[in-house]
Symmetry: C2
Subunit: 390 residues, 2 copies
C-alpha cells in the first residue's frame, strides 16, 4: 500500500503508515550539485575520504557562521560543533543534560524527533501550549512558579514550528527570555526552517538576545540537503566541549566528504539562490493547501496559517481520532502524520500535521479534497452513532 | 608542534598529543573514486540528497552481504542495520544493552573507541588478558565461574586486534564460543580489519559458528574509506529492531549520498582490487617496522607480530610510562598512542601502540629509530636514578 501523496517529508518516521521511504524536499538544481562535488573531489580527495576532527571542519564552520549571520545571529567557528544532522545535536544534548526523572519543557505540540531524542534519557516531559503567536508564555510563567518544576531545559522551535507552523512573535520571545533569566532556565532553540520565510519580517533568534543561556541548533537539511546529514550546535565553550567528547564516542566524526560538499555548496552561495526558489515553490504550495482546506474541510475544522516552513497544523472536532482515519486516507492514496505523535502523552488525537513542501500543487488540491472527504465521512459516522458529543 | 610521523590513524582521539587532524590510510586510487561518484550523481541525485530509511539502503545491504561472504560469513540484508561508522554501532549497542553498574567484558588491551562508547552507560568494565593467540580463554573461564560475574556481553576483536595486532586462533575461538554457550554470554564481534590479512589462513568469524549468540560489527572504514562513515551491525531480528529505533533518535538515518557511494564502489568490485594493493603496502610497512624495532629498540622490549591489520603493540620495561615519553617523541616529530588508553583502568602504562599503515617505509624506519632513542634515553634516566627496579 503506497500512497501517492505524502504530506510529510519525515514519512520514514511513520513507515508503518506510509509503507515506503522518504519523498523529495525542495528543488535542488542537479547541475550545481554535480559541479560542487566535482570541485570537492578534484581539490581534496584525501581529505574527503579520511576521518576529520570530531568538532567538524573549520572551513565548514566558517560557512555556518555566514548562514547564522543571515538569520541575524553573530557566531564564531570555535563555538560550533558539527553534528550528523540536527537529530544528533538533539541526541547529544539530551544525553549531556538529562538524567532519569529530570523535567524537560517543550511546546505542545512539539517536534517528534526531539521527543524521540529525549525519551531514552527517561525525563518527565511537560508541554506548554502553543497558540498562533507561539508558546503561551502566560502558561509557562505559572508553570515555572510551581516550586516542584525545576526543568533542565526548555526546547522550542520559534520559527514555523514543527508541527504547528506558527512563529513566536517578538513579544513572546522577549517574555520567554525574561522568564529564562528569572528562573535560570536553559533554552534549546531549534531553527531548521528560519530561512524558509516567504512572507513577513524575520525575527532575530533567541540566541542573539541571550548568547549564554541559549543553545542554538541548526541544520542544512532544509536549505541544502538532508541526505548529507549536516547539522550543528552553536553554544558556549564548556557545552561544546562536553558535546564533542560525547560525539566522539557516538560516531567519531561526521563524514568529511559531506562536510566538504556542504562547505563548497555554501561557499558558492548556491543555497541563497536555491532559497529564493524554495520560498516561491513553498509559498505557492501553502496557498493551494490553505485554499483547498477552506474549500474541502468541514466548518468545524480550523488550521494554522504559516508564514514560512513546511507545515500546516489542522485541528478537527475533538471527538475525532486522526490515527484511526489514517488507514482510510492511505486507502485513498493520501498520507499525513496523526497529531498524537507530537505530544509526549499521546494527546492531540484530533489533530493532523500536513506538509505542503513535497507534492506538486495539483496533487495538494486533490489530496486535501480526498482528505476532506475522509474527515466528513468519519464525522458522519460519529454523528449517526451519537458519538459526536461525548 | 606537529609531528611528521604519526603512528596512528586515530590520532584525532589524541589531538592533545598530535596537535593536528587525521592522517591518510591506505591507497585509494583517486580516479575510481571520482568515477564512482559521477555514476552516483548521474543516476540518482534525488535519492542521494534525500533522507533514507533508518535501517539503511537495501542496495547497500546487499553489497554488505557480499563483503561478509568474503569473510566466510553468510548473512541476509534484513538482519543488517547500516550505521554511521562502526563507532555508532558500538554506541547503539552500549545504549541498548547497558545500565549503570552492568558488567562488560573486553580484551585487555581493547579498542579505545569501544571503551569510549561503553563508558557513558557507566558499566563496570573487566578485562580478560590477551596473548599472542588471542583472548586468554583460561582466564575468561575462571572469571565466568565466579557467581558475581554476570556480564551483559563480551566485546572482542578477533582479527588483528586493536591495539595488540594479535589474532584469536581457532582453538581460542572454539573455547570462547563454548564458554558463551555454557554461560549464556552474548558476544560482540568487531571485525574492522579481517580482510586486511597479508599472510596465513583466514579464520571464519565467530558469528559464522553461532549466529544467535554473536552480534557482528563491520565497517567500510578500512577497506573503502573512513570519510564516508559507513559501518553496520549484523544481528538477530529483535536486536536489529531495537538498535534501529535508537538509531532513529540518534541521527534519523545515515547519509544517503555516502551509502550510494559505498554501494557503487562495492558493486564495481573496486574494494577487492584495492585490498590487493593495501595488503602489499601494509605488509611491507609492517616488515620495515618489525625490522626497525629489532634494530633500534632495547633488548628489554618486546612486541607482537601481526599477520594483518594496522597495529603492532610494544611492551617496554615495566617501570617506563609511555605517556610521559610522548612529549619527548613529539619533540622529535614522532607520535604514538600510549598503552594506558587501551585499558579501562589506565593500566598498560609501559606499552605503546604503533600503526604502520600510514607512514611510508623510510619514515617508519626513521620514526622507529627516533622512538628507540627516546626509549633508551628514558631507560638510562631511570637507571641512573635507580628507578628501574621499583
Amino acid at each position: 500500500l503506497s500512497p501517492e501523496i505524502i504530506f510529510d517529508p519525515y514519512a520514514s518516521l511513520y513507515s508503518e503508515a506510509t509503507g515506503r521511504g522518504l519523498p523529495f524536499i525542495g528543488g535542488l538544481p542537479p547541475e550545481s550539485l554535480v559541479a560542487v562535488m566535482d570541485s570537492v573531489l578534484s581539490g581534496g580527495i584525501n581529505e574527503a575520504f579520511q576521518y576529520c576532527e570530531t568538532e567538524g571542519r573549520d572551513a565548514l564552520k566558517s560557512q555556518l557562521v555566514k548562514v547564522m549571520a543571515q538569520e541575524g545571529l553573530d557566531s564564531e567557528p570555535e563555538h560550533i560543533l558539527v553534528t550528523t544532522g540536527s537529530q544528533q545535536a538533539l541526541d547529544l544534548l539530551a544525553r549531556t543534560f538529562l538524567d532519569p526523572g529530570d523535567i524537560v519543557l517543550t511546546e505542545g505540540p512539539t517536534y517528534v524527533g526531539a521527543l524521540a531524542a529525549f525519551r531514552p534519557a527517561l525525563p518527565r516531559i511537560i508541554t506548554v501550549p502553543l497558540d498562533d503567536l507561539g508558546i503561551r508564555t502566560d502558561v509557562l510563567r505559572e508553570l515555572l512558579e510551581r516550586p516542584e518544576i525545576d526543568p533542565k531545559f526548555i526546547y522550542v522551535v520559534p520559527n514555523f514550528q514543527n508541527p504547528a507552523g506558527v512563529t513566536m512573535n517578538s513579544r513572546r520571545r522577549r517574555e520567554l527570555l525574561d522568564l529564562a533569566v528569572e528562573h535560570d532556565l536553559l533554552i534549546l532553540e531549534d531553527n531548521p526552517y528560519g530561512l524558509l520565510r516567504f512572507e513577513g519580517e524575520p525575527l532575530p533568534p533567541l540566541k542573539a538576545s541571550d548568547p549564554r543561556r541559549v543553545i542554538y541548533i541548526g541544520t542544512l537539511s532544509k536549505i541544502v540537503s538532508p541526505g548529507i546529514r549536516v547539522g550543528w550546535v552553536f553554544a558556549p565553550d564548556p557545552i561544546i566541549e562536553r558535546l564533542s567528547t560525547l560525539k566522539q564516542s557516538a560516531d567519531l566524526c561526521s563524514s568529511s566528504l559531506n562536510q566538504m560538499f556542504a562547505e563548497e555548496y555554501l561557499r558558492r552561495g548556491l543555497y541563497e539562490k536555491n532559497l529564493v526558489n524554495l520560498r516561491d515553490i513553498y509559498r505557492s504550495r501553502r496557498d493551494v493547501m490553505l485554499k483547498s482546506l477552506e474549500k474541502h474541510f468541514p466548518a468545524e475544522a480550523h488550521w494554522t496559517n504559516p508564514q514560512g516552513g513546511l507545515f500546516i497544523w489542522v485541528t478537527l472536532p475533538e471527538y475525532l481520532d486522526s490515527a484511526k482515519m489514517l488507514p482510510m486516507a492511505i486507502d485513498r492514496k493520501v498520507a499525513f502524520v496523526p497529531g498524537s505523535a507530537f505530544y509526549p502523552d499521546g494527546s492531540g488525537a484530533n489533530r493532523i500535521r500536513l506538509n505542503f513542501s513535497f507534492p506538486p500543487e495539483e496533487k495538494i488540491a486533490w489530496g486535501i479534497e480526498t482528505l476532506g472527504k475522509v474527515v466528513r465521512k468519519e464525522m458522519d459516522l460519529y454523528r449517526s452513532l451519537g458519538l459526536d458529543n461525548p
